[in-house]
Amino acid sequence: MFALLLIFLVTPTGNVRGAEPANGVVVFRGAKIYPVSGPAIERGVLVVRNGKVAAVGAEGQVSVPDGARVEDVSGKVIIPGIVDTHSHIGIGSRPAVPANEDINEGTGPLQPGLRAMDAIYPEDVGIRMALAGGITTANIMPGSGNVMGGQTVYVKLRGKTIEDMLIPGAIGGLKMANGENPKHYGSRGQAPMTRMEEAALARKEFVKAQEYKRKWDDYNKQVAAGSKDAKMPDRDLDLEPVVEVLEGKRIVQHHTHRADDIMTVLRLADEFKFRVVIHHGTEAYKVADELAKRHIPVSLIIIDSPGGKLEAVNFDLRGAAILEKAGVKIAFHTDDFINSSRFLIREAALAIRGGVSEETALRALTINGAEMLDLEKRVGTLETGKDGDLVVLSGEPFSVYTNVLETWIEGEKMFDRSRPEDLRYATGGFQVAGRYPALKTGDGGMHASAAQGGGR
């Protein structure tokens, strides 16, 4: 009984990780640092103070503050914390059983009033697996079953409550979708049954929001002019976030695959002047010029093979490179559960196989995603003043032989591969950690040889 109690006491409960106080100073010394904001630093020093990057530079050029906790990361590689622009962790918790399914409110195709944050389970193991993949910031979204799926939430992967996870000042995006998925209503004899109707539903909602905004603008003008009998319009929780979209405060995060569907999004964006990120963008490479001339970014999912649905059959590993060449800003996302958050870096590596430059691939995991979420002032690069969110890697970012060793958020270590309880979130087997057999050929030997370019 006492032993049991002891286990209970030392077992981390909930989602609270990172024993280090955020107000301390942590210094990472000796690693090759990819700050992304500038060229790689071969042997760098990175100082994180009070959760923010206080200094970054070459060894010898950045002084180590007295009393700082020094992390010797010689021979390792540091990149900024990874930004996943499209995830369903927490909102589609594991295991995937109906009790945990809170992604799609399939009772109507227009749900802009819904907020993802009302359905997020911070103890979802998916969040810990995402940390094991080096993800520090995520855009958690409702699903793509609706034309307007709801308000997305931009979070850091920390804390016990969704409030802890929130990023100050970030209001999130509006999830929209077109193409195959919202058409599922058709099988019930409900709208939308066609792509035409999907677009019409979106257009009608935007027109309603324009009207609603005009009413409020008029009212506010009257109040500002000193009117006493101005009548306050009724509030509409569905239209408020759509108005924020029209005002450019909230970005439309739009699921869309096929080139013609992407063009429908651009048509709506041209018409209603909203800011939009194209998500998945399977056929974005076919309309790269249209995207480039409008400066519309694309958050891509890099999947292993084409298909699984008609709108994904023209997936091409070379697509990301075509977009890069056309001058379209790209990011990569997991759409977790579609791809595992543990392997988001792998997506970027596969895009390199398809022709993307390593530089763009790294930006696409970090700063580009941050920009797509209006978070570029806070995350995405390792620059003085930005959040101390970083990933310590065992080697070069895009090698299969490289592992995520540590993930830090604002100066707190959230994942450490050397901790047995964390390791299982990287490999799998966390539920049976007590019975998990020891792997004789595990980590050590493998990666020592890999460092010499071998790994066999």
Partner: protein
Amino acid sequence: MRSRGMNWRKISLWVCAVLILCAAASAQKTAIIADELYSMAGGGPSGQPGVVLIENGKIVDVRPGHEAPAGYEVMHAAYATPGLIDAKTTTGISGEYNIPADQDQDEVTDPNTAEVRAFDSFNSAERLLEFVNTYGVTTIQVAPGIVNPVAGQAAIFKTRGPESPLMTAEELAVKPVSAIVFNLGESPKRAYGEKQKAPETRMMTAEIIRKALLDAQVYEKKWEDWNKSDKKDASKQPAHDLKLEAVAAGLRGEILVIFNAYREDDIDTALRLSREFHLKPIISSATEAYLMRDTLKAAGAAAFVGPTLERIDSLETMNATVENAALLSEGGIPVALMTGFEGYVPKNRVLLFEAAVAAVNGLGFEKALRACTIDSARLLGIDGRVGSLEKGKDADVVLYDGDPFEYTSHVTAVLVDGRVTYRQK
């Protein structure tokens, strides 16, 4: 032995004839020169410079060095390996569109469809077949899906690539019938339970399989008795039953017996059934197999692991680990890698990527390569033809511009039976 075996023999003969014709069509001499040649043959090059000489679709010599004799068309590569062998997949019967029109892997009308053959669903024009070929997969065991407790018969095929002519299933077949496949776990009970039909529980899934095995045993006995008899009274000859035939072939050990199972207890059920009917089981998917290595070893079971990138998602895959292949291999259990079945996006896994993930998660380069070449061939019983680069074997070769397992490397060319099926543009 018996007339009912004749159909398969006829097919095999016909397949042989077609293969001879194909070989004749590719009567050219090719030399593959690789900086690092992994022959996967005992005593053959393993990571050293090497040359593979090919004539008429077969390997005629494998030698160290960089020199090819005159008269050969030369292809250069940084790395070369044997063609990769997917131990179990639905590629070719589960199309990339994922619409009813191209899904032919699960005959969900009867929980026992032992009589169905993947061969008869196989669409040799399927684009995913060409797709996997571009990633070095040259041989696949195509098995019915994961829904029916008694799912039917698997077949082994070569793959076509973008440069291949359209070939029929017969032309691509290596073994028209290679295995009988049983499914345990969530999928059967989900599919039938929704329709208020059996099986609704794991108990019933096991019972359906047990009954199929028992019926086949009885059937087998009847035929034995008939064959031993003087065969005078034709009315006493047992009636042919294609369902029972198929399961009986598994009982006799003529074809492989594969149980697809994820959870530990489901794998245990597979072993229990195997003990009852003296089967030598192969566990496919085998998600939690790493938790029961000693049991599996004692049962003489082998595992088709994967996909390594299996999602930690449903209840039965919650304990999936990327170290499964490594742990099983360390535990002395024969392992081959498979891509299995994917029901959504992406529609197919890539064997090369699965092997890469297994390699860096404990299995190591050499063993991971074995698990998708020679070890896979051995478990499938086709190592006389494929799985390693050795004199006399089929000239199935993959060329790479870097470490095959690095995400950023490329497959530069693929040869099947000596013909280039894919060439990087």
